[in-house]
């Protein structure tokens, strides 16, 4: 359910800012956040990313499959990198940082492919990162609290 909510949140911002600035990838941010949850079904996550990316392409980019590849690749690479980090190093801050880095990678790829509805450029990038900050902070804090509870 939350996948759908985050997808529509992203879509809402995209409609609202259409033609002005690109929205943040709230759906991708949430997918990446779920990657770091050990109990989350990664298979479900992968297919949710595929479906979300596909609908996004059908609605906005017109390159059907491009965003799906990007989302699934982001999930797999996040999972792969996260597996190298020792348990003691897995903090909320690192999680937020990793989500941010991978989402920036997605932004760069789409910018180079000229697939950003709403424009690209430094101002667009800064705006996109700014509206993503609350979500990143929330994910970081949520993860830290969970780790603290697990360690208690």
């Amino acid at each position: 359910m939350l996948y759908i909510i985050f997808w529509f949140l992203q879509d809402f911002f995209q409609v609202f800012l259409s033609g002005l600035l690109p929205t943040a990838d709230f759906f991708l941010l949430y997918l990446l956040f779920r990657v770091f949850d050990e109990e989350e079904s990664k298979v479900l996550l992968i297919w949710a990313a595929f479906a979300g990316g596909l609908v996004w392409d059908l609605r906005w980019t017109g390159f059907i499959g491009f965003t799906s590849v990007l989302y699934v690749l982001s999930i797999l690479s996040a999972e792969w990198i996260w597996s190298f980090i020792p348990e003691t190093g897995k903090t909320g801050f690192l999680l937020a940082f990793m989500i941010w880095i991978i989402s920036v990678f997605g932004y760069v790829v789409r910018t180079f492919a000229h697939l950003y509805p709403g424009g690209s450029g430094l101002d667009a990038f800064v705006f996109q990162q700014l509206i993503a900050i609350p979500a990143l902070v929330f994910f970081g804090i949520y993860y830290s609290r969970r780790v603290a509870i697990d360690n208690a």
């Binding site: 596909l54 059907i64 699934v72």
Partner: protein
């Protein structure tokens, strides 16, 4: 655990494969376009609030922008109006100046110090034009002052409203002789009247013969009020000045008797 991990990678790679397949197969095909249209039509329903909000926001932005444009335009028109008024005023001033300068018998007021507004002014004629100190200054035939100082090309006029200028005068109807004195605030007073003065409102006040520079019969003004007041130690009557010192642009200098 290892099996789950392996399964996850297989699903991932399979999803990527399908995505790439879709990307290649739908690129430029009509199928992709019509499917996109269908998704857009369906999503139009949940996107309605965002679209409405965006439209309202755009309306507000347009309203503010239009308001700003209007304000800028008003400012521009105001500036243009000021410039036009200034140009018109300049043109009027220049034509008045030329008219005065073309008249050989009149002098133009070139300076009137605000600090001594009711006391003095400067004219553009001086000794080289035959002006001498003590000559009377007239505006449309009415006495407005006296030449106080003369330089080569300009002179200073002491105005009738100056408190230091005393002009002997006569009440035309009664032949009572008195003195006209300014109060330094734009008013002139008739002082040194006899105790039994018989003057009435509206009576004419003219200059009285004192010397060659001040001939008799030059109109000064009329009695405005017969309620006497004290100016210094003497009774005084307020006069209506014949000249208009608030519109003093040109002055005629009364020639000396010998001229």
């Amino acid at each position: 655990m290892a099996a789950r991990k392996e399964k996850k990678w297989i699903h991932g790679l399979f999803a990527i494969f399908i995505s790439l397949l879709l990307l290649v197969s739908t690129h430029g095909s009509r199928f992709g376009g019509s499917f996109s249209e269908l998704v857009t039509t369906v999503l139009n329903i949940p996107e309605y609030p965002a679209r409405t909000l965006r439209n309202n926001f755009s309306d507000i932005v347009v309203w503010f922008t239009a308001r700003k444009d209007l304000y800028t335009r008003i400012k521009m028109l105001e500036e243009e109006n000021i410039n036009l008024r200034s140009a018109l005023s300049m043109s009027n001033s220049t034509s008045v100046m030329k008219k005065i300068d073309s008249n050989k018998t009149t002098a133009r007021v070139t300076f009137r110090p605000p600090s001594a507004w009711w006391s003095e002014c400067r004219i553009n004629k001086g000794a080289s034009n035959g002006i001498e100190a003590g000559q009377l200054a007239l505006q449309s035939g009415m006495l407005v002052g006296r030449v106080a100082a003369v330089e080569k090309d300009y002179s200073w006029i002491e105005l009738i409203t100056s408190p230091s200028l005393l002009i002997p005068a006569v009440v035309e109807e009664t032949r009572d002789v008195a003195v006209v004195k300014g109060d330094g605030n734009g008013g002139i007073w008739l002082i040194y009247l006899p105790e039994d003065f018989r003057v009435k409102e509206g009576m004419s006040i003219n200059t009285a013969m004192v010397n060659e520079m001040t001939p008799p019969g030059i109109p000064i003004g009329r009695i405005a009020d017969i309620d006497s007041r004290l100016v210094g130690n003497s009774k005084a009557l307020l006069l209506d000045m014949g000249g208009d010192l608030s519109r003093l642009y040109e002055i005629s200098i009364l020639p000396c008797k010998g001229d």
